[in-house]
Symmetry: C2
Subunit: 197 residues, 2 copies
DNA sequence: CGATGAATTGAAACTTGTCAACGGCAGTGG
DNA sequence: CCACTGCCGTTGACAAGTTTCAATTCATCG
């Protein structure tokens, strides 16, 4: 199946009938408050599983940033597969554990890091992810908008923009294009990120 | 096994050799930054599983707030048990999924809610947890200090204290004792919590 | 080339944090 | 039995980081 950019294919609160596996593209996962405030809990790329929710309804929404291709299984089908292939269950547990660790790291970021530390941490984690595909490029590609970054880091667009500008002024990064960041000084950037990453 | 109050029985970064199941008491789970800033990612009570980390080292620390009793299994023993009882794997996946949903809710709180909304949300979720034991009491017991609450909500002790005082002034809660809160107006409190909870 | 939405930049306002003082309660020891 | 001590929680005044509001610039695309 495929979802064009901007398309919401999982809706917070809807009956959790399906289970997804993203095969290409990027999606934002988020929760919303009644007044429209939004918290992006993560970005899901190639290989990401969605819909682990145990309860009857999804706890988050998912929206394509870039065109997303995915496989969709009904919950019933998933149960069948779990019974047929016990290894899958092990794999899912592993995936869930990894996400839990990532979520805890993000809680630390949201609860205790400054704006500068958040943005630096974000760039570094993105760089790691990019490096997994292309070996060691200093380039980081940001498929999401500033608004997405802000909602992921618990900041406003303006603060994200100002912070990037400031990091650029300090020669830690370059910004050839809003969606393209170059890490000029990885060590220096890491020093601004607060933690060890 | 047992851990007296204040005892750290899981240390962030240590080799993740063991797996825990808490049988009584309450522990705080947290991550720290090099300069001492701390984010409590959750409070673990009776029945809680600890140590799901897939990597070789714990991603968080755990410290007893009240005296804690727990069962401890080596990772090897856990693997054995998982092989012998496939149902356990299903259960763990369920547990991990639940924690993931809770973590996402907490990210929303940390990234997008105001201090007042955070404290109100915290009291309500605590009340739910208390209600699970004792039926419908308006009383909420807080075994943790203000410092713990602050580090859980991404605030300072002072802000937590002020906010509680303010909620009391608005007749939404009563504070007979620092560790004992009475919810006087649940609906009103929920309205201050931002979300649906 | 003009239009539209995204990103940047500036100034002012506000929420929360910081620093400091005070009060209360518990445990200790004279 | 009562001062003493230390920790925890509360309160106040002020500072600071981030948000809000507004204007401008920049990219993309028909």
């Amino acid at each position: 199946m495929t979802a064009e950019a901007g398309r919401t294919f999982v809706n917070e609160g809807d009956s959790a009938d399906n289970f997804f596996n993203i095969t290409s593209g990027t999606a934002r996962l988020f929760k919303s408050l009644p007044d429209g405030r939004r918290q992006i809990t993560g970005f899901a790329g190639r290989g990401h599983f969605l819909g682990l929710a145990v309860s009857n309804s999804y706890a988050f929404s998912a929206e394509a940033i870039e065109p997303v291709q995915y496989c969709r299984f009904s919950r019933i089908k998933l149960r069948q597969m779990l019974d047929d292939f016990p290894a899958l269950e092990k794999r899912l547990l592993e995936v869930a554990s990894n996400e839990l660790v990532a979520a805890q790291e993000q809680m630390l970021l949201l609860g205790r890091k400054t704006a500068r530390e958040r943005v630096a941490s974000f760039l570094l984690s993105r760089k790691l992810e990019t490096a997994a595909c292309i070996s060691t490029t200093p380039h980081v590609h940001l498929p999401m908008t500033r608004s997405d970054i802000a909602d992921y880091l618990g900041l406003t667009i303006e603060t994200v923009s100002r912070t990037l500008t400031s990091l650029k002024a300090d020669k830690l990064i370059g910004i050839p294009h809003p969606a393209e960041i170059v890490v000029l000084n990885q060590t220096g950037l890491a020093a601004q990120a607060g933690g060890y990453n």
